[in-house]
């Protein structure tokens, strides 16, 4: 048991470290280090522009999408090299937020199902951040139950004609392309009538409307499709095999390890270390200490769980299922942490404006953004189902819509 690199890993780390030191946008380092959930903007620069510039610089030097093949804009690196890169990139990795879906989900799906000429033309600009991609899966009628989606694709000559609506599409408002899951046959059971495509978001008939979130910010969108034409060569996988294609997409997302999930603990510990309560320093208060200790062991438990997975990668093994707990633990924890930080502020906790609030309102921003973390990318309940079924081997839910044609499934709970 040790935390040391192998000689090859150490050499790779040294190369990465030197390149980052010479090329990263150091002027934003401090600000990025201090950014936290709900508070990810830069004061004097547009973070999207800074992010694109950094991604392009990385790509030009061969540091983008490290695990992708070189032909598609990557570096052909091993999984452990990708993790080492993420460790070295540190706070600058926070600039990758707008590319996570494109690199983590759209790219791998294209790699598995697109035609060779499409891979060669679309993947390198995706890797370099010149083009941004989004994922158009969720719908008003299909969130956790994504196979319940209703957006239709109908064949018309060499094209498909798309009509319907997507929702919760992260980054659609600045995306150039998207992968789109549609219903091509409503007369068969819901999983069996889906087909996947990719499309240019500038195609006529695509309309993006930002959603104003409960936090007041707008990271997600509604996307409307009105007679949108997609050529058949942009189909990914077979007609009506879209469910299996989407599983590849989602599987790739869950394979990404080491990026680290945000728990809010380091921020809270820092805060409590200097905070004065009525009776003295917060950090010397028994009740505060008990809370901190409980969150400390969750945060460290997640950190070391991720290290166990990285060790498996380093040995060339597949990581075990233990990493599936990360999002579930961190999501509800950061919400609780933010709530508690405000509780410590007493009545002043209600003030959220950055100029007037405690520590520039970082915990207020965290509190307002936190509900989303427990829903996006799989709700807490879906994550528990995944652990129960795939890790513990418990039976799946009894599905009342399993063998029912999609167009016979009820659409209203109460009439």
């Amino acid at each position: 048991m040790n935390f040391e690199d192998t000689p090859q890993e150490a050499a790779f780390r040294a190369t990465a470290r030197a390149w980052i030191a010479a090329n990263a946008p150091q002027q934003y380092e401090d600000e990025l280090r201090k950014s936290s959930l709900g508070r990810t903007q830069l004061k004097n620069a547009n973070i999207l522009e800074v992010a694109k510039a950094w991604q392009k610089k990385k790509a030009d030097a061969g540091w983008a999408c490290l695990h992708w093949p070189k032909d598609y804009g990557g570096r052909g690196s091993s999984p452990i090299e990708r993790v080492i890169w993420q460790q070295e990139e540190g706070p600058f990795g926070k600039l990758s937020g707008m590319f996570i879906i494109g690199h983590g989900m759209c790219g791998p799906t294209m790699m598995a199902f697109a035609r060779e000429e499409h891979k060669r033309s679309y993947l390198p600009p995706l890797a370099s951040g010149v083009k941004v991609w989004c994922q158009l899966f969720s719908e008003p009628a299909g969130g956790s139950d994504v196979a319940g989606l209703r957006t239709r694709a109908e064949r018309d000559g060499e094209d498909w004609v798309i009509n319907g609506q997507k929702i919760w599409t992260s980054g659609a408002h600045y995306s150039d392309y998207g992968i789109l899951l549609t219903r091509t046959d409503p007369n068969v059971a819901k999983h069996k009538g889906l087909t996947m495509f990719f499309l240019d978001m500038k195609t006529p008939g695509v309309e993006v409307r930002p959603i104003k979130q409960a936090s007041g910010a707008s990271d997600f969108n509604e996307v409307y499709f009105t007679n949108v034409r997609i050529p058949d060569h942009q189909r990914l996988g077979e007609v009506n095999d879209g469910w299996n294609v989407s599983l590849t997409t989602l599987m790739n997302e869950r394979m990404s390890i080491g990026a680290g999930v945000s728990t809010g603990f380091p921020e809270l510990f820092d805060y409590c270390s200097s905070l004065m309560l009525d009776d003295g320093p917060a950090i010397e208060d028994r009740a505060v200490r008990a809370k901190l200790a409980n969150w400390a062991v969750k945060a460290s438990g997640l950190r070391y769980t991720s290290m166990r997975a990285i060790s498996a990668l380093s040995k060339g093994e597949r990581p075990g299922p233990e990493n599936s707990i990360g999002k579930l633990v961190a999501g509800s924890m950061i919400q609780d942490v933010a709530t508690y930080a405000l509780d410590l502020q007493g009545a002043a906790g209600v003030v959220s404006g950055p100029e007037d609030a405690e520590v520039a309102g970082r915990f207020q921003a965290m509190l307002l953004r936190a509900p989303g973390t427990r829903v996006e990318g799989g709700t807490d309940e879906i994550m528990r189902n995944i652990i129960a079924e795939r890790v513990l081997g418990l039976p799946g839910d009894i599905r009342v819509d399993k063998d029912v044609p999609f167009n016979k499934i009820p659409t209203k709970g109460r009439s």
């Binding site: 048991m1 200790a293 062991v297 438990g301 769980t305 707990i325 189902n385 513990l392």
Partner: protein, 375 residues
């Protein structure tokens, strides 16, 4: 990075599991629970023969000289099997105290006897209510004799010797505390068995009256040694708790798969699935924190105090969580004497207190994190 046990260590774990599955069945644990004997003597002898009692004791002192990572994997299996033997008192507390502070002759006297299963040892620290603290130690040491009462002392009624924490001064400083070794088979000792939460591991009250005792470690160093012993034991106990958590989770999972109600496996209900998923989360966090503790213990790293406290808290929470919800999954049957669930529930809750309570360790963790940040 290799944040995992080696293949040899995993093989040792398999070997220990096989041995304990055979020699430490739930039926064997139940015999001790029902009071047929104070501990499983045959199992204790078997553990000695397998070399498990002395796995971390150097060869010069009759052990296998393997190391603490090896002891961690055995501890996990001991917890998994709910072994009714004085393993933690003897191996994590008494042997560790001797390894840290014992003179050559003390080590020669006791360590080979521990490794061979001839001597059971323990730590006599607590004096009634309260957590580890110099101010809670009232038993006095003067002129080579001890006077006072210790309780609860884990496995005190079956121990051959005890490491005893005693007061040698009243300056109010940590230096007032010193450690002594007492041969419990000698005079000046009165032992009373205490009924406790987990009858598979006894607790006793020991009264010392002008009892002859030999100093362990330098005078004035007692509290510092004790702190080290508790940290090392916290990591080792955490592995027992991790083993127990996993077993309780498996029992709950298996029952959820076998039991039919409302015409379906109860494990198909989300209320049950989610409860089991949360148990898996706790057990996984505890395992990962304990691995870090194992690394710190085996390398004697400066991170040990913080790592030990984190492992202790996480593993205590996980074992309590898994043991109580295992009963819940079993429903009424889980609350019967006949089912094994309550044995893990008893063990989980007894272990949560043995080295000091959860709230004590929470406090310790924050102190230690602050020290690290200040450094």
């Amino acid at each position: 990075m290799n944040f995992d046990f080696s293949d040899d260590q995993k093989q040792l774990r398999d070997q220990a599991r096989k041995f304990l599955t055979e020699k430490c069945s739930p039926k064997a644990v139940r015999a001790i629970l029902d009071g047929k004997a104070p501990y499983d003597k045959a199992l204790w002898k078997g553990l000695a023969e397998m070399g498990f009692l002395g796995v971390a004791i150097p060869e010069d002192f009759g052990g296998a000289g393997a190391g603490h990572l090896e002891l961690c994997v055995i501890a996990e299996e001991m917890g998994r099997a709910n072994a009714p033997v004085p393993f933690s008192s003897t191996v994590y507390l008494a042997a560790e105290a001797l390894l840290i502070a014992g003179s050559d002759s003390q080590k020669k006297k006791w360590l080979p006897a521990i490794a061979s299963g001839e001597a059971i040892g323990t730590l006599a620290l607590f004096e009634g209510k309260g957590n580890p603290s110099p101010k809670n130690i009232k038993l006095t040491a003067a002129n080579g004799v001890l006077n006072g009462v210790k309780k609860p002392v884990a496995d005190g009624a079956i121990a051959d010797f005890a490491v005893v924490a005693a007061r040698t001064g009243s300056s109010g400083r940590d230096g007032d505390i010193a450690l002594f070794i007492v041969d419990l088979k000698g005079g000046g000792v009165e032992v009373k068995n205490l009924t406790n939460l987990d009858p598979t591991r006894g607790q006793a009250e020991i009264t010392f009256r002008d009892c002859k005792a030999e100093p362990l470690g330098a005078a004035g160093e007692g509290w510092s040694i004790l702190t080290q012993v508790l940290d090392r034991a916290a990591v080792l106990c955490a592995f027992e708790q991790v083993g127990g958590s996993d077993r309780a989770l498996e029992m709950g999972r298996d029952y959820a798969l076998d039991r039919i109600a409302f015409g379906r496996q109860i494990g198909s209900f989300q209320a049950v699935k989610h409860m089991l998923a949360d148990m898996y989360v706790s057990a996984t966090l505890a395992r990962s924190n304990s691995y870090y503790g194992a690394w710190a213990l085996s390398t004697n790293a400066g991170e040990l105090p913080e790592a030990a406290a984190a492992a202790r808290i996480s593993a205590t929470q996980a074992f309590q969580h898994c043991a109580k919800n295992n009963i819940q999954v079993h429903g009424g049957m889980g609350f019967t004497w006949e089912f094994d669930c309550h044995m893990y529930y008893r063990r989980a809750n007894a272990m949560a207190l043995g080295l000091g309570s959860l709230s004590y360790w929470e406090d310790q963790l924050i102190d230690r994190m602050r020290k690290k940040n200040a450094a």
